[in-house]
Symmetry: C2
């Protein structure tokens, strides 16, 4: 039976999604939590829709895995959550899917949210999930810059190590919505796929525009250059949440 699970995690204490020897990762915690359910002690491979970096959170990460055991979604969720070592990661939803469902390959788009606290002093209750920006953000300028990212472009200049595991650096950004409520500012970015550190690079540049260090028009110029330079900085990981994966 192939299972599709929706996973939420607070990325603060994880070295990201991907298994790494000697580090705590979400994938590893899940595989350890599922392995007692496997008959004959076989290993379980939990395949995510994509990696998230150290410190990045997820509201709706998706993964698939195979399990030869008759369980209801409710039983499976309870069993995995009961085996997880800490409450900073939870399976929120589980369902059975066709045996050829692939969490990474079948994803048609993703939504990420980047959160900022725009005030002189960081509110302690927001510090784990928001980037701190002290200089007042120019939201109209951010809107103008955001519009220039929309569409199909070669995003090599807005990625770190852009050709890591991918053949093309062309991606389509469907939308970037900007929300603000007092000091709380949020960018909601959806697209058909994202290069390594692409959302953090876009968010970092939107912040640079917002504090007046860059002009909105620079987005076009930098995209056209196809070369990552020091002008593009990745915003800090704790501001980023993988919100939803669409199939």
């Amino acid at each position: 039976m192939r299972w599709k699970i929706t996973i939420a995690y607070d990325g603060t204490d994880f070295h990201g999604w991907q298994k790494q020897i000697g580090f705590r990762t979400v994938q590893q915690d899940l595989e350890k939590a599922i392995s007692p359910l496997v008959t004959e002690g076989a290993n379980v491979a939990v395949n995510g829709s994509g990696r998230t970096d150290a410190g990045v959170h997820a509201h709706g990460q998706i993964a698939h895995f195979d399990l030869d055991r008759d369980m209801t979604p409710h039983q499976l969720r309870r069993a995995i959550n009961g085996n997880l070592p800490s409450d900073d990661v939870r399976v929120m939803h589980a369902e059975t899917v066709a045996p050829d469902f692939d969490a990474r390959r079948d994803a048609v788009s993703k939504e990420y949210r980047y959160r900022i606290w725009n005030a002189e002093i960081m509110d302690p209750s927001e510090r784990r999930t928001r980037a701190h920006v002290t200089k007042p953000l120019d939201l109209p300028a951010i809107h103008a810059a955001a519009r220039l990212f929309i569409g199909t472009h070669d995003f090599a200049a807005f990625s770190a190590n852009p050709l890591r595991e991918v053949e093309s650096t062309v991606r389509t950004v469907h939308s970037i919505e900007i929300f603000s409520d007092g000091p709380a500012v949020e960018f909601r970015v959806t697209g058909n796929g994202f290069l390594y550190k692409m959302v953090r690079s876009i968010s970092g540049f939107l912040i640079a525009v917002g504090i007046g260090r860059e002009k909105p028009e620079a987005v076009d110029e930098i995209i056209a250059s196809k070369i990552r330079t020091a002008r593009v900085e990745s915003a800090v990981p704790q501001g980023l949440t993988l919100w939803r994966v669409f199939y």
Copy 2:
């Protein structure tokens, strides 16, 4: 010069407000952060509006202290925040006040907020600031029970160790507002003062009513008894935030 400061903290890693030898507390962190500003190395006493227990948060705790040094509010805030050992506590606001201002004695009322996540699975991003209640809460029943707490009563039965440091267990609860937005439920409790663990006891009882373990009418009966029994359970500390102190 007497200063009044507004302090926010994430209570997770503190053993509460009050100084205790061998434990990290908010009062101690603040006194250590202010002491380098004191001429002649005198000790600084930071006097809070009241204690908060281990694990309880604050959005607007208030404290006063004296400092013989000419600083602007901005300079003072920056200096203290720069000296604090961790970003889980911050001075959000500072102002000078009359030399007889007393953060505890002059407080006329306080607002506390108690937060709950009412869903089968706890969202990892909410786990540090909300109590987890899996059984669906009956909000009309909670409203009915909340109304019975309003007014001036002897709250001995809704406090732990009620006569600790107080002469009377009579308090006035001004209002209890109930907010809910999907799984997020919040009680906002204001009153002229609160006994030890009183807000957590009231919140714990509202939860007991919400899951059907108690009837709303039981509030009157238990208040009248003036005796704390096992029927009243303190809700977990991480759900509680000292929101605001009024002067």
